[in-house]
Subunit: 406 residues, 4 copies
């Protein structure tokens, strides 16, 4: 019989951490004995538990401790993080520690260092002069980088559920098209105002349905009024926006009349050809060919944007980053400083963005398909809000709540 003493402190009961510990130990075939337990007597006090974890053998005990560290448990007398050099460019050492999107620290030379840019499914690289730890992607790792291996000396901080609840958090608990959404959108508008005032960045990830449904004018208005600092999308978003700017149609339908244009299904390809002829969206704007729309406002306001390519694209436009690894890297570089992310009617780009976001960023997801909203919100965080509605209604109401003139 092996055993080891662990301790944990914090809001471990209402954050569900203690029950989780019990569950992990029992699920994995171990046993526990509570040696000490101090429950916070008032709501601002933290609780403390000291437990002896028992197991039939050392190997299982290690597995259990590895799992427990991920929920924030400290094995008393904590070990150092162990590093190995990457064996080649783009290859981690075999036993690399695989990251979560939670705030993470590593113990190195006796002190805890916070890991920069938390991102899931990466490794942690340690540099000595000056001492720092950061996530490194599989594609970005270089031969010889010092990579954290195993689970010793790694500590993960699960966001504690805030004790007070606002409407935002309440409504987030379930995804349904049957909720009164006017209040939800008003809350999002309030969030946007406060992020803007505090100098945080707002990132919008959008799909082409924004344009097809005639909601491009609302997104344009948000950009013009400096509510969007960063825009992620694909070829289709930009193409149909530019088609609208040049021809007045999206997918060949006149957005102001709701009827199809003769041969309008060719407009998107002709729009791409036109932009390619000028060499860039900016050049087409300068030439007076594009005078309105989402891309027009994005270029005029000089906001950051990444248009990432995909294999279903026509053209594509000159601005498209066709290499998926480079596109991810460009997106990743724009994330720091982001306080709020709004994902609108885009599965591919939203999932890609979700992959690179730290768990601590607030997230609003809007789609008419409840399955997509559920999928995007499933990030183990208390910071997500999903709304099932059509994107045109959402953006119109959002502009209304922000008192913008469209």
């Amino acid at each position: 019989m092996s055993s080891r003493m662990i301790e944990i402190e914090g809001h471990i009961i209402d954050s569900l951490i203690l029950p989780q510990i019990f569950e992990i130990v029992m699920d994995m075939g171990g046993d526990f004995e509570v040696k000490d337990f101090k429950i916070g007597r008032f709501k601002h006090e933290t609780s403390y538990a000291k437990l002896e974890i028992k197991s039939p053998d050392d190997e299982l005990l290690d597995s259990i401790l590895v799992r427990l560290r991920d929920v924030g448990v400290s094995v008393i007398k904590e070990d150092e993080a162990r590093c190995e050099p990457a064996p080649g460019d783009g290859v981690y050492p075999d036993s690399f520690y695989s990251t979560t999107n939670l705030d993470t620290s590593v113990k190195y030379n006796g002190r805890w260092i916070e890991v920069e840019n938390p991102e899931m499914d990466c490794a942690i690289c340690i540099e000595e002069e000056p001492l720092r730890a950061y996530t490194v992607t599989l594609n970005g790792v270089k031969k010889g980088d010092m990579i954290v291996c195993g689970h010793s000396g790694v500590r993960v901080t699960r966001p504690e559920r805030p004790r007070s609840k606002d409407v935002f958090e309440f409504m987030a608990s379930s995804v349904s098209s049957e909720k009164p959404k006017e209040k939800l959108i008003a809350q999002i508008a309030a969030q946007m105002r406060s992020v803007k005032e505090e100098g945080g960045k707002i990132l919008l990830v959008g799909g082409p349905a924004i344009i097809h449904t005639g909601a491009g004018k609302y997104l344009s208005c948000l950009i013009r009024n400096e509510y969007i600092n960063t825009l992620f999308g694909g070829n289709a978003l930009a193409v149909h926006d530019l088609e609208y700017a040049i021809y007045g149609t999206s997918l060949g339908i006149y957005l102001d009349k709701g009827i199809p244009s003769d041969r309008g299904h060719e407009h998107h390809l002709r729009a791409i050809n036109t932009i390619r002829k000028y060499g860039s969206i900016k050049a087409a704007i300068e030439a007076g060919v594009v005078k309105k729309g989402v891309m027009y406002e994005a270029v005029m306001k000089g906001i950051d944007y990444v248009l990432a390519g995909s294999i279903r694209d026509d053209g594509p436009l000159p601005e498209i980053e066709t290499d998926s690894v480079k596109a991810q890297q460009k997106m990743r570089e724009l994330v720091p400083g982001t306080k709020l992310v709004i994902m609108l009617a885009s599965a591919l780009h939203s999932i890609a963005t979700g992959n690179i976001l730290p768990a601590s960023v607030r997230l609003v997801t809007v789609d008419i398909n409840p399955a997509i909203v559920t999928k995007l919100m499933d990030r183990g965080s208390f910071q997500s809000l999903g709304i099932v509605t059509d994107v045109q209604s959402f953006l119109r109401e959002l502009c209304h709540c922000l008192e913008l003139v469209v």
Copy 2:
């Protein structure tokens, strides 16, 4: 080899009737020879075709002719309709003619009689004094009723596609959440105005999501302004509307604040109990307990409504018709005179309504689930318009287009 001469006249080419005839004959293993064909030389002229239908044997020939009659073909020298008495209450003769929802006539004593109240999946009953033909449901047929049997002497008129197209018809062709819907809703508003002016009736079929999403105030407004003549729904629509009138909540959520009421999940049951205590919705209104909402306006305006029960109902309310056959009958009686049907976020009640509507009635279907919209629109008619959006956005925009003060 058997053969028979048939003829058909009308807009048989652009209404796709002629190709359908060819297809039916060939699919069933027959053959045809075109004996005469006059195509309308101008767009207002009808076309005429005379064809010899051939088949290896009499039995198959009969089957083919039976099918062809349904698309409006006349066998030259048309036979009379054949009748048999119903063998018992609620039972048709074995070989009864099963109806479609299309305009239908029967040949009886040498003259064509139009069948009253076309409805699918019924039989045709003929009365002699005075001479009339009407659809009779399986449940409604009485022993001895003269029921049309076989296919002789029955003629069905498929609605011809109008030669000019309005936006309404164009957009109806496909169901998508990615269409610019503001124009579509403006068209529906225009339809409603014109039906109202011409004295036709507008029937609304609604589900409880109207209330949960906070759109009850828009539907109330439509009723108050006399845009709705008939309302079909279920227990849940009325219960949550009354819950809102009494408690300010729907499903326990305060609609004006978007937050849940303490023990609010009990409100719907308490609302039902309250109405039962007074004996009826009307009595609760008179007692001053219910002062607003959809049912309030429906009662105050005196519009016709049917609240049909289902096995998933709580309570139910006193007004609910719990017997499904009686509920169908009540709904059926309110259909004549209806020119436009709007189905909102209700699968069960909408399908039931679709079952009893003639193909000639215009139909608008709104749901956030595209599968439900597609299913409801699949009625072999050129008169249906489907919109994939949430019902709150739809109703708000509709009231806006009708310039109503909510």
Copy 3:
């Protein structure tokens, strides 16, 4: 400042009850102080907590205590249940206690009585001679029945999460079409065998897709081999099953050839007419008209079934209970003794069944639409398993796992 002492004992940490208590108190604006806390030191030991609940005023304190009782908290020195007579047939007293589907007891004359037949959204009726408590539906309550009012003296027992986990429980945690389902179905087969051996009842709720997809033969086989004790469905399930028995088609498609029958869309109506002619399904079986299928096996095996009507029904068949309140009552009477419920491709009937089931019954839900599976499983219980697949594949695999010859 008001306050009250409460205590709770059990597996309150790993069953998430203690965190829930903290959350409720704080959400509602109260405060708490932990006066005593004994955590179970070994996994078979229960824990105990004594807390002082504080609130600015008595009214809020009462609201908080009311909510806490639902999670099993005892206010020290527990009050008696308070009763009032029902003011009329079909009407509860205003302040009636509204039930959950959890195991419930009431304190009456100094002793705790278990409430019979737990069902959500009902009231509790107490009879004195002999002393018993049972749920009574709004429709079933009679004038003068003694109905429990308020929350004093009512105790609800939330099912504690089992400490050991089987595959069944693990997989139940999420609904996805992307799980390896062969193992899941093998587990369900094992459950069915063990329920059958122990003499428990298995209830199957089914929709017509069972027949359309050609899976009727598998369900027939389950009934023939006595794996189904009770069958709930609607007119459509029985009609298409009988259509298949009489014509070999379902919805007019020959199930063995996959091609449509000429005029096959009339078969369902002709099948209904045939059964009506004989007077009942049983009479049609005796006359030799129906020789196979789900209803054939159900009648021959003499299992209990309820075919509940709905307003979208054609016909209906003579066996249909067209009154929704009576149908609910018939279903309710067949629930006691049921240990496992399998819901297949039926939203309406499954929701209705879910409404009348105690939380303690195991539930398997199968549908190709993940939204329906999620909705049906959302019952606050650890006893539900959802599978997203088509019903034909599910039933074929289930028969395979049970080693049945189809």
Copy 4:
């Protein structure tokens, strides 16, 4: 008033071409007069129509004729195709003719030339020595390429609907999860056998749900038995297949036990790292690390495959073509010779494949989500079959029909 004489010959009535012509002319505001009409008197005879098309002005007349050419109408005395040189690399001339996926010919120097590799949303390039015409993508066009402009001299052949119908074609008409699918899958198996016998190629496009549902063994079996010539997929398909080969899990779930592996959610990243360490899938196979699975069989059989990258990828694997334009090009090069395409549970890769396929290739689409099946089948062709089911059931049944030992 302008007018022009046109003629058309073929199965123009049962292929719905004549009604389409009438509709186009009237929708666009023109008028027509039928000058001559000969209907095929027997089913093997074609029909002929000569019409005078009239319009208020020349410009509209031209627009109408442009549209009519797309349905195969010849303006009597047909003009030559007009060419212009591409103004730059990656840019078409402004008035380029935008292609469909239908068989197309261009009239050049007095003769009709068939356009090679029909693909939608491209331009047509003409080379003189030797004389040929082919589609060229926007990305592939070079400065100076002779590109067909305007609509003169371009003729499109819409596939005529076959006069006889097989089950395949019948069932294709609608997408539903409620069809008896065993017969459908048997038909697909028969198609696969006959394509294989005739030396045609079968292309499979697959998503990772194939692996997650445990169906990888069936796809492996199809490849091993030479039923698949080409495989299109993404990083996720290959990663989870390799995860299974290395760890026995997919998404961390043991496929043979249905339970999760401890820390199994890291397996996919560790699998990618392992393959990167060896440098390629092939090298990992040679090293004995990968011994089974879809990629193993694909490499061992030497079939063609394209693994296209996307921005949501982890890693990615060394084999991934991360540049979307290059990936499209690789896919495009493998299409010629393909007679049957099977798309399984993959939206992104299936849409991309659909974009580059000629309309003449038979297509089978399988997904559990009916919306995706409907979207992929909407290609204006009579050659598509959609099945709504889970991919594991489909592949198991397909292997069974092909009598393969899995």
